[in-house]
Amino acid sequence: MSIKVRYFASLKENLAKSEDIVDSQKNMTVADVWLLANPDKIISENTLAAVNMDYVALTQAVNAGDEVAFFPPVTGG
């Protein structure tokens, strides 16, 4: 099973991609997912993360089949 990774807004533009697919591993966290998908890029301090459309910390565990998203601070309204 794999994990779908999605990027939005300025982060999507900076990375020049809107999504990745990574292979799930045991005891994986959101931070691990970022590292697998973006081995050359340090995650910026203000990047927000979500798992299955709920906000999470980077230490949150991730399971096979989850959708992980990374994006900058939100600016709607």
Partner: protein
């Protein structure tokens, strides 16, 4: 309650009228309706803004907005809530967001509406990209709604 994301022009007055007509459970029960409408300006951070693109995370947006409405309903006596938010290409003077709150008494309507709007600004995954006279830029953060400007 209802959460709606629209890609075409948002007419907040029509949305409120249509929703209220259909909400039979509200009839005779509500004494207060608080309506907030956010509209696109033609300036930001001292620059002229000619257009704007609003991106969103479909699915998460609706989920977060529904959570925000539930949080408001736990704190105040709220009968119903309607949120409509634009995405896509916008021009100055076009409405961006509508938050309408129906309650029995005005205090709950004002307070719940403010709560929903401030929570939307910090939790709902929308992102604005402004078109300026010379190029474009992402809005990097929302301002604090409680801070006096």
């Amino acid at each position: 309650m209802k959460v709606k994301i629209v890609e075409t022009t948002l007419n907040p007055w029509q949305e409120v009228e249509d929703y209220q007509q259909e909400a039979i459970a509200l009839r005779g029960k509500f004494g207060a309706t608080n309506i907030f409408i956010g509209t696109m300006r033609d300036f930001n951070e001292g620059d002229e803004v000619t257009a704007m693109t609003l991106e969103h995370y479909a699915g998460m947006t609706e989920k977060q907005l529904e959570n925000i409405i539930k949080e408001a309903m736990q704190q105040w006596d709220v009968l119903d809530v309607l949120i409509v938010h634009r995405v896509g290409e916008l021009l100055p003077n076009q409405p961006i967001v509508l938050v309408a709150v129906w309650t029995s008494h005005r205090g709950d309507a004002f307070d719940a509406s403010r709560y929903i709007m401030e929570a939307l600004k910090t939790k709902a995954p929308f992102w604005k990209k402004e078109t300026l006279v010379n190029g474009s830029r992402w809005v990097d953060k929302n301002t604090d709604g409680y801070k006096k400007s």
